[in-house]
Amino acid sequence: MSSVPAAPAAPAPAAAARRRSSVRLVLGFSAAALVLVAIGPAILPDFMVNNLIRAFLYAVVALTVDILWGYTGILTFGQSAFFGIGAYSAGLIFTHMGFTFEHAALAFSAGIVVSAAVAALVGWLAFYQGASPLYASVVTLVLPIIVAQVLYSGGNFTGSSSGLSGFESFDIEMHTWFWIAGTFLVIVTAGAWMFVRSDAGRVLVAIRENEARCEYLGIDVSRVKILLLVVTAVIAAIAGYAFASVQMVVAPEYAGFVFGTELVIWVALGGRGTLIGPVIGTLLIDVSTAYLSGDLPYYWKLIIGVAFVLVIVALPRGIAPLVTRLFRRARKGGEAAQDSPALRKAQEEPFAGLAGGGHHAIALAGVRKHFGSLQVLEGIEFTAQRGELLSLVGPNGAGKTTLMRCLADGAERSAGSVLINDHDIARAPPCQCVAFGVGRKFQNANTFDALTVAESLRIARTRLEAPSLWTRAGSLDLPDAALKVMQATGLDQRLGMQVRHLSHGQKQALELAMVLALEPSVLLLDEPTAGLTKQERTQIGQILTELTAKHGLCVLLVEHDLDFVREISSRVIVLHQGRIVLDGTVTDVVESELVRTIYAGGGAMSARLA
């Protein structure tokens, strides 16, 4: 089974080589950076060493902002709060309990546990199903305000506005701290680098690009975001702990909202979504601030403000991409081609990757949907079995797409019940419905513009094959049907191409392939062939009939092209003004006077009924 080669296997060795070279690049950069860190204290003036220690730790926090904002699209003002939590867990415990190694370990664990708990709470609040990106930003804005106020109101315990200082800490030389902080930064940067370039890292970009599509590919976006926030919070807290330990001072400002916005400014100036940009940006700005704020305190902050506004308006991707572009040009644009994995046929238990084989594939009872006083669907009831190719037809505004939505997202309908493979979907979010066996293709091509074809398909497989956190897999396993769609539309020759460069028809085909890659048992297709050529359309039709016949899928198809419907359907449901007016075979529908009048015009219809 698995030996069937599906598509050009040629890219594989090249891709593997490029991956190896990318790992070597990270190792090389890290080694060089570590050498710099090692010799730093010997060649730099003490003032510089002191400032760089602080800047290294800030840069670690800036990296977490970059992961959240630059890669995942969550604009956060709240990472300062976690930095503050880490710093205060050291400050509070060392001040009130004294410094011992046990207490140091206790403070370290406390910082991690508290920041993780707070992050989980904040994530639950900010990233609920259907939360807007603005709301998430609001919550991250509220967090540091609350933490800082709590610290202000803590009286002698937290030191209120003056914070805590003069506590005992690790008896370590500045030079050693420099090495510790520098190594910490290098490790976090290299780890983040590996992570964002891994298959799991691509999921973050997919979320940034198109959150809804991720949900409908079975990815629990809320959970991913909460996990990510917890991990980045813990990293920020560790940086805060180190900061308090080396500076032996903590103050509410380090947990506050203004520091949170400063982190965003550094990341924006350096270049969001580049990792190295925010690190360099933070180091340069923070160290320059230390040198310049003595001579021209207000001017310096003014310059930073002006630069920030200019960058946001004119260079949204920051300074780093400019530099790398120059660098690339110098190398004569070498790496334009994206690495693409080899396509392989997935080891399939025919479409059993998901819960399948219930009593009914789809069972609807009393489904109703209204927007305010507008009734869109009313009393929808039908069942469909495995192996059926059921077409849903009806004029514009009949409620076809709304019905599709009600099948794939439990929160959509106003009343009634929907069972998928005998699972009551209740109020289940889309990613849960995918787990019950639903695969939904949207009416308009709904894809990830910034990803390549291969990456998009990999995202679609996330649910079935947990993506690696460190590397990219060298091959991409897809079910037969998805491979056939790729071959029929020539997408298998464009694996490394960015989706934004595909034609409309190709995007449609890609989305269909992505949905098929989910190995669904109930397939919802909203005009899957719009924008395809006659020939491609026929091929897709064949694939669909084969899916139902050989693999026992239940396919629900919305189509306007009645010839296409006639060729492939085993059954047709006619929807008109939100109600089912006919449910029968193709012949029933073709011969129906009613259907003819509906399509000829609504007026004739109502006259007949009256």
Binding site: L125, S132, L134, I146, Q149, Y298, F308
Partner: protein
């Protein structure tokens, strides 16, 4: 009684501060984080007027004009390129707030300064002695609300503005110059922020960062109000009232958090907030 007055006057102050932010958000779908900066500008406009020996009442129109002109410049240079990038607009306007704060610091210094109040002392009101200026503020806030309502519902510009709020593309297709509507709206929003800054300075003091806490409160109030001036009034009364009560019976620090925490929770469980739909 005086507690009730506290609630009403607090709500009025919040309303005056948030109104400008609301109309900018309503029309442009952009959160103007320079709102705090414009507010500070208004505070310093009042300072300039009184330092020059002018009548303190003059500081209100002066602040309004300064804010409007500043808003025009900012809209042209910074906000216009960011219409399609709302999260970036938050950042750019925040940066603008920093710039305004630093320019003010360079010129006026960073110390806290006091502005003369147009009216002083307390009057007997409904059996209690209460700050006269705070009561006048209520009238002014109501006047602002009524004027905004009249402009939006009674003028051609208001009609066009509402059309842009509801469906900008359609409005453009119907020949409405939505760029001009945005330009006027932003300038008016900045003017209102500056006016609010001049209004609140007699109650406290001016310093280069005075706008930031107000910005945060106004931002949260606008988010729970949707796009409506009426629901903004409701939000100001409810959340402002809660703030007064928590500050009185709890402690002032918790009181300072009341608006942000309540607003965040309200939005979590009722994303449309105080708006009807």
């Amino acid at each position: 009684m005086s507690q009730l007055l506290d609630i009403v006057t607090t709500a009025a102050i919040l309303y005056a501060v948030a109104a400008g932010l609301l109309i900018v958000f309503g029309v442009m779908k952009i959160i103007n984080f320079a709102h705090g900066g414009f507010l500070t500008v208004g505070g310093y406009s009042a300072l300039i007027v009184t330092e020059l020996g002018g009548n303190p009442w003059l500081s209100l129109p002066f602040a309004l004009v300064v804010g409007c002109v500043l808003g025009m410049i900012v809209e042209r240079l910074v906000v216009r390129p960011l219409y399609a990038r709302p999260l970036d607009a938050i950042l750019a306007t925040w940066g603008l707030g920093i710039i305004l704060g630093q320019l003010i610091t360079l010129y006026f210094g960073r110390e806290v300064q006091f502005v003369e109040s147009p009216v002083k002392g307390a009057i007997e009101f409904a059996g209690a002695s209460y700050s006269q200026y705070r009561l006048i503020l209520v009238l002014l806030a109501v006047a602002i609300a009524v004027l905004l309502g009249l402009v939006l519902n009674g003028t051609r510009l208001g009609l066009q503005t509402r059309a842009v709020i509801m469906n900008e593309n359609l409005a453009r297709g119907l020949g409405i110059n939505s760029g001009l509507v945005r330009f006027i709206t932003f300038s008016l929003g900045a003017g209102l922020a500056s006016l609010a800054g001049a209004l609140i300075t007699p109650l406290s003091s001016v310093d280069p960062n005075m706008g930031v806490p107000w910005l945060v409160s106004a931002f949260m109030l606008v988010l729970v109000s949707g796009m409506s001036l009426v629901s903004l009034a409701l939000a100001c009364l409810v959340l402002g009232g809660a703030q007064v009560l928590v500050s009185t019976y709890g402690n002032p620090i918790l009181g300072g958090l009341t608006i942000v925490v309540l607003a965040a929770l309200i939005l979590r469980f009722r994303p449309q907030g105080f708006a009807r739909e």
